[in-house]
């Protein structure tokens, strides 16, 4: 006797997607001046969800001017305690509309509803709650109280609303106004957030949302009246942005790519370690900058861990992201899937051994099965380049020194995982790993109170915690 899980789809009826969206500028949705339109698509079905505006340079200029005016006339004059109340209101509205936002996120991004419901949306609300409290306590944080002015923010498609919260909450708390560009493929929750700003009666122009692709982002970053640029995305685009702001004196923080090592010692709590490895790389289809994409496992337990890992991966449920029992959703775009496929081919060509969980891929939409490469060395492309997909490269090590050396041997430095029951060694590792976040006996945990950000080519600046406020306050005299 057995039982299987019947389909358990979350209802779409909670969302009301408009056929088309304008830009959110100065407190209202407006038609573009020089923009075009594009369609945003459900990656699980390839169904067009809505027509969205691609803001042109004049539209961006209009948004920046609205933000400047709001900064000058309203937001910079408002006491922190009042700013705080707006942020609290927004936090509450996100909670109240959480189910709608979760479904919207899953439709537009392809991530499982379990993740958008249990991770993205609650954390987005938590970020507004956390930062609301800072708005009238900045003088205690140690970075002064001077806002930059207008912040231009560009965010990625992997955690659309959560990344928006990471950007907008601290910016507003510190007294900045913002123009935010969501990712081209995932604009819908940002547009829903615009509506939340209206519901919160946030003064017009304090938050402006301009949708579009890289060209829109470039226009925003290069706009001369933007005082501060914050970007989360690929290292390549981060590099272009850093070049673009050279010589401008704009504030800049970058949260870029990663190639994190998840290090499993032979004395690890193995069942939880396997869960952590799975969560580290297959959470959100591996579309996570801090994903544990390199498993460094001590040679003495490598076979045991790999067996357990494969067994565990065979129970992962891939499919309809709206199904409450789905563990692995759709790849966000055809482009991204092509990128994953290219690197997987490189792994094959370079002689690594590929294993994929047996799972039927839906016919429509973009999918990739959870995949593990063994026999990988540091020289392989799949061990060096960020894949940003559900692909794990497995390497082995013999000693703690070797683990540190291999973990640090990358231009990135965003995160790392250490699995061991020996506290002294864990602390030893933590002090030697060159990474901004170190998860010991856990992985992919996020909290608004915990600073997040990278070393080296993973970017600079922190988001979250007291330290994250520095990104939105002018510290120089």
């Amino acid at each position: 006797m057995t039982f299987d899980y019947a389909p358990a789809p979350e209802s779409r009826s909670v969302v009301d997607i408009a056929p088309s969206y304008g830009l959110f500028i100065d407190g209202e949705f407006v038609d573009p001046i020089d923009g075009a339109t594009f369609k945003t698509v459900n990656p699980a079905t390839e169904e067009a969800l809505a027509e969205v505006t691609e803001a042109g340079p004049l539209d961006v200029d209009r948004a920046v001017r609205a933000a400047r005016t709001a900064y000058r006339t309203t937001w910079s004059r408002m006491p922190g305690s009042e700013r705080a109340k707006y942020l609290y209101r927004i936090a509450r509205l996100i909670q109240e509309r959480s189910r709608e936002l979760a479904v919207l996120e899953t439709l537009d991004n392809g991530k499982p509803i379990r993740e958008s419901r249990d991770v993205d949306i609650p954390l987005a609300a938590a970020h507004f709650f956390y930062h609301a409290g800072w708005a009238d306590k900045l003088e205690y944080a140690g970075y002064g109280t001077r806002a930059y002015g207008v912040a231009g923010q560009v965010i990625p498609w992997n955690f659309p609303l959560l990344m928006l919260a990471w950007k907008i909450a601290p910016a507003l708390a510190c007294g900045n106004t913002v123009v935010l560009k969501p990712a081209e493929t995932t604009p819908l929750t940002a547009l829903a957030f615009a509506d939340i700003c209206r519901q919160a009666d946030l003064p017009p122009g304090v938050v402006n949302i301009v949708t579009g692709d890289g060209a829109t982002g470039r226009a925003l970053v290069e706009h001369p009246d933007v005082d501060k640029v914050a970007f989360t995305g690929s290292t390549e685009v981060g590099r272009q942005i850093q070049r673009a702001v050279a010589g401008t004196r704009k504030g800049l923080t970058l949260e870029l790519g990663g190639k994190a090592a998840n290090i499993v010692f032979d004395d690890a709590p193995l069942d939880e370690a396997v869960e952590g490895v799975v969560n580290g790389i297959f959470f959100n289809q591996g579309h996570v900058c801090c994903a544990g994409s390199r498993l460094l496992v001590q040679e003495s337990v490598a076979d045991e861990v790999l067996d357990a890992l494969k067994r565990r991966l065979s129970t992962l449920r891939l499919g309809d992201p709206l199904d409450k029992n789905t563990d692995v959703g759709a790849i966000n775009s055809a482009e991204q899937r092509a990128r994953i496929e290219e690197l997987v081919r490189a792994g094959d060509d370079e002689g690594a051994e590929r294993w994929s969980a047996a799972c039927a891929l839906p016919e429509r939409g973009w999918w990739f099965p959870p995949t593990v490469f063994t026999g990988v060395t540091q020289a392989h492309r799949i061990a060096r380049e960020e894949i940003f997909g559900p692909v794990l490269a497995v390497l082995t090590f013999r000693t703690p020194d070797e683990a540190v050396e291999k973990a640090n041997n990358t231009p990135f430095g965003l995160s790392a995982g250490v699995w061991s029951e020996k506290g002294s060694r864990t602390l030893w590792m933590a002090s030697r790993l060159r990474a901004g976040v170190i998860w010991a006996n856990t992985f992919n945990r996020f909290d608004p109170a915990a600073p997040f950000g990278g070393y080296k080519e993973s970017g600079f600046g922190r988001e979250g915690g007291r330290q994250g406020l520095a990104a939105y306050l002018r510290t120089e005299g």
Binding site: R249, G436, D447, P451, Q467, T475
Partner: protein
């Protein structure tokens, strides 16, 4: 009458704790504020910069690995040794900057005191910049500042000693190693400082001093993949600053851009400079039985 012929000093570079000449063999004439010849200084090349980065990288791990208490002791020792040689520094600064003996003495006082101020910071940085993070879950989470790594700095052109100390001390106190290009026109106090550093228990390579042209070495340092951060405080040329910022982007090197107006180095520094050259690492660990 002066019967004895003065023994003149040769001013060399300071790299990896040693005093090499420039690999290029080049020197340049250094004059005092009135244009009188003082000495020849080494004119460092991009290859010297490369060697200095290598020296800094190999020194940085152990310097960061030392205890904060130990780093504080070393910085304090620098102050002690400078105090013992203050006459030399007063003379070098007076000649270099063309200021009175009294004002030069004041610059030296401030420089020594600056080392003392930063020495005291070594074991307080983590307490002031770090945190324990009250996350919503059963995890012990803390954030600690760690050094960025290897920092290339351009020291101020005018403030030959105090400006230099004010740039170098906040970089190294947290465990970074640095390559610093001192004032081009007033480099001699920097070499005097190097002689102090060499005898102050500071591990070789933690501070490397390259006399020469920022315009020549700067872009190489900026684009060097093993340099983690740049301090452009002494870059007066906007074009050069932009060029270096642009080059730094290649490996996402952190850049402290030149100040909008020349700083008054006599003022008490805040924490901004020190903070710019640390990274924050956040560590999570479950709490359970």
């Amino acid at each position: 009458m002066d019967a004895r012929l003065e023994v003149r000093k040769t001013y060399k570079l300071f790299v990896g704790g040693a005093f090499p000449r420039s690999e290029s063999g080049r020197t340049y004439a250094v004059t005092d504020a009135k244009g009188k010849f003082l000495a020849n200084a080494s004119l460092a090349s991009r290859k010297d910069a490369r060697d200095a980065v290598r020296a800094a990288r190999s020194a940085q791990g152990a310097w960061w690995g030392a205890t904060a208490y130990n780093r504080g002791q070393v910085l304090y020792r620098i102050a002690e040794v400078m105090e013992g040689r203050r006459a030399q520094f007063e003379e070098e600064v007076a000649r270099a900057e063309g200021i009175s003996a009294r004002r030069a003495a004041s610059q030296v006082d401030l420089s020594i005191d600056r080392w003392v101020w930063y020495a005291g910071w070594s074991d307080k940085i983590a307490q002031v910049l770090g945190s324990s993070n009250p996350v919503a879950g059963p995890y012990f989470t803390f954030s600690v500042p760690e050094p960025t790594g290897v920092v290339a700095a351009i020291a101020p052109e005018r403030s030959s000693l105090l400006g230099l100390v004010s740039v170098v001390a906040p970089i190294i106190v947290s465990g970074n190693a640095c390559i610093v290009i001192p004032s081009l026109s007033r480099p001699l106090p920097a070499i005097a400082l190097a002689e102090v550093l060499a005898t102050s228990d500071l591990p070789g390579g933690v501070v490397n001093i390259l006399t020469g042209r920022a315009a020549e070495m700067g872009p190489w340092l900026a684009s060097h993949a093993d340099v983690n951060a740049l301090d452009l405080t002494g870059v007066d040329d906007d074009g050069l600053a932009t060029e270096m910022e642009f080059a730094a982007a290649e490996t996402i090197t952190r850049v402290l851009v030149p100040p909008r107006k020349a700083p008054d180095w006599a003022e008490q520094p805040g924490l901004d400079r020190l903070r710019f050259f640390v990274e924050t690492t956040t560590v999570w660990h479950p709490i359970g039985v």
